[in-house]
């Protein structure tokens, strides 16, 4: 039992389970999945589908945080990638031409990589603290997205582009497959190559890593580029979902949800050990929470407050020292004969 509780996925999974259980009691058909016209429908599918962009961003964020960094610009990159692809497609003759859509996707992803490279170079080359370095793009990025779209909200009529976010494959939403591929690639890249070891090493102790011969700058730049790429893919999903690009609101506050997902998943903001599977569970939990809030019917003006309280509860339950304090309280209450240890002033 103790070993199970010590596992890094124990608390994230418990929280997710508790949230799902609550839903089961509240609306027994929460878990029901229906087949309609060759597609699966249901709350669980929705959570996976709508959670896809967050999972993508959070996976990239996990690696950045593992290097003792943080990337605040992911929300802006989401907006820029969406703007870039929509702009390219809207300029085309035939919005539904496959080559045009592919080119748009390619351009958007290359741009995301470049933005990640920019972040990485600011952190390594210029030696700016990650939170400030990425703050620059977080603020400027919204402007860049608006520049690309010329301050307008671009709307498309391109079924091929819409497929990315709304299409389905083998009865499941296509976005789930994108997430699966990115997640698998990230896991393979970090666990089957030495990159994971280098990321953890650099994140734990950059100085010692350098003296052990690790090129920490390259590791860090690579990680920011990967994070940018993930955010770019998420941006494609989101803009494809609504067939439009909104430089102002696309991906707004995504960085915060992503950081939260990483932390809930057990990766420390101090860098070092990281858990991609934990991040997956964390992101799913946040999405489940959002879905729950809607399905329970909480008034829209207080949803953020409710979300904040649940997040607070989750963080407290995950905190080992908080748990210990509660247990101590509880024990001393039950055995009044045993005096609490006295401290001398």
């Amino acid at each position: 039992m103790n070993r199970i509780m010590k596992h890094h996925l124990f608390w994230p999974l418990t929280m997710l389970g508790a949230l799902l259980l609550f839903n089961l009691f509240h609306s027994p058909d929460f878990f029901s999945i229906k087949m309609q016209g060759g597609h699966l429908y249901g709350n669980m599918i929705d959570i996976l589908n709508f959670g896809a962009p967050l999972i993508l961003v959070a996976v990239g964020m996990t690696l950045v945080i593992a290097t003792k960094g943080i990337d605040l610009s992911v929300g802006s990159i989401v907006a820029i990638a969406g703007a870039m692809s929509c702009m390219t497609i809207s300029k085309g003759e035939d919005q539904n031409s496959l080559s045009l859509v592919l080119m748009a996707v390619g351009l958007a992803l290359v741009l995301s990589l470049v933005l990640g490279l920019w972040n990485g170079l600011l952190v390594t080359g210029a030696g700016i603290q990650p939170i400030i370095a990425t703050l620059i793009l977080m603020v400027a990025g919204r402007g860049i997205a608006q520049l690309i779209t010329d301050g307008q909200i671009i709307t498309l009529s391109s079924p091929k582009y819409a497929y990315i976010g709304t299409g389905s494959l083998a009865t499941l939403p296509f976005s789930i497959f994108i997430v699966a591929v990115v997640f698998a690639a990230a896991s393979l890249l970090t666990r089957k190559s030495a990159l994971g070891l280098f990321i953890e090493s650099v994140g734990t102790n950059p100085q010692a890593s350098r003296l052990a011969g690790i090129r920490s700058n390259i590791v860090i730049v690579a990680v920011y580029m990967f994070c940018g790429l993930c955010a770019g893919i998420a941006g494609l999903l989101l803009s494809s979902n609504v067939s439009s690009a909104d430089g102002n609101n696309a991906g707004l506050w995504y960085e915060l949800d992503a950081i939260l997902a990483v932390v809930i998943g057990g990766t420390s903001l101090n860098g070092g050990r990281f858990y991609l599977s934990g991040t997956l569970v964390g992101a799913l939990m946040i999405q489940t929470l959002s879905t729950t809030i809607y399905s329970v019917g909480i008034a829209p003006e207080i949803t953020l407050v409710v979300k904040a309280f649940v997040v607070l509860a989750v963080c407290l339950i995950q905190s080992e020292s908080f748990r210990k304090a509660v247990i101590r309280r509880w024990k001393t209450r039950h055995y009044p004969g045993e005096k609490e240890v006295t401290r001398h002033a």
């Binding site: 190559s193 030495a194 953890e200 003296l211 011969g213």
Partner: protein
Amino acid sequence: MINMIDRQPILQMSGIYKSFPGVRALKGVDFRLFAGEVHALMGENGAGKSTLIKTLTGVYSVDEGKVLLDGKAIRPQSPQDAQEVGISTVYQEVNLCPNLTVAENIYIGREPRRFGIIQWKEMNKNASALLSERLSLHIDVSLPLQSYSVAIQQLIAIARALSISAKVLILDEPTSSLDRNEVQQLFAIMRKLKNEGLAILFVTHFLDQVYEISDRITILRNGEFVGESLADNLPRIELVSRMIGKELNLLEEMPKSQHEEHAESDDIWVEASNLGRTGAIEPFNLVIRRGEVVGLAGLLGSGRTEIARLFFGADRADQGKLKFAKSSEAIRSPRDAISQGIGFCPENRKIEGIIDDLSVRENIILALQATRGWFRTINRKRQDEIAEQYIGTLNINPPNPEHLVKNLSGGNQQKVILARWLLMQPELLILDEPTRGIDVGAKAEIQKLVMSLSKRGTSVLFISSELEEVLRVSGRIAVLRDRRLVKEIEGQDISPHHVMQAIAGG
């Protein structure tokens, strides 16, 4: 001296037990401390010294046992708790804030305030008074802490402890980074504080210092209490034998005439010509031959570490160059040095050596994996074999490759870093203070290792604050003074007298 038998100890720890997963660190240890004495706590690595101190200062909680301070049971839950009841600790690595001023460091969290506003003048005045009255230290307290030497910083840490009205002062390896004069300065202050009635618990690995300053000695071995004795009644030889058990003669057995056994070769492996770095080390010339052990002797801050760092590319030289016999490449980074076949165990192993959240296995293979790049991975089976092999040959304890390095004792961490470089089969191994803060037994092991490396043709650049150690292992000694390489002593000329004279100069 006051008769201590009649008095109650100010601190009494009895039957202390403490276990960690897989390790029983303390098995019923007793310890007592009287007011007005300096009490040395002695033991090898893993004897339980650190654990005992950490239970006393609230870093760990005890599993079993009693701690009485002034006759009252205490159970501190945190270092703050311990400080409140009057137990303060000054660690080997000063844990103050280097960029705050001296006065701020002393009063941080307890700044004198009036109407909520910090009274800077009053704080500085109090700090000055405290330092000059109790420690006879007259310095400008409004300068940042980092503008003073480690020795002064340590005294400031002591002043901070005193200002929180300490009854018990724990000095954990305070002298390991101090030079001779600084140690004397510290001892003078310890004597003064002792006479004022403070109880001082002193941990060190230097036997000389133990006998110079301590009134009483407690010995631990493998987490057990071995004995307590007045320092005057405990001959050195007995102390050592009780600390290390039967391996008493390990050190004495080390033949003094090791230099002759060195593989004599004129085969130059690397030559530093006019190598220097402004503000760190004046330009110097130094040749290292294949299979040779070159010792660097000098006081702390004389430029020993700086030379090592230049050889390894950890710092960039701004003049002169390193010429390798086999290639003409320049060294710009540790990576370059590693590809030339150089390994480096840095002085400050916590900051520059170990990656503390990673396991022993990962720490050992790190440098090898770094040279192989991202994709040529060492498969897991091979990693396990490597880890097992070095845990065996270097006697790393606990012998578990998946143990996190941060949970190892200092000596074992040092062995892990050694393993990392031995695995690379370096042609030149730079050891900067490899035996600092580790016990007599492990020291002898490391010295032996240096010998065997040299016999196999590996050159070693050996740096140590312990002169006797440098003398024992080196075939040639480069002496440094005030950031300048002043003399090289070789072969039969190597003697303590010679080297000391060169260090002292004049």
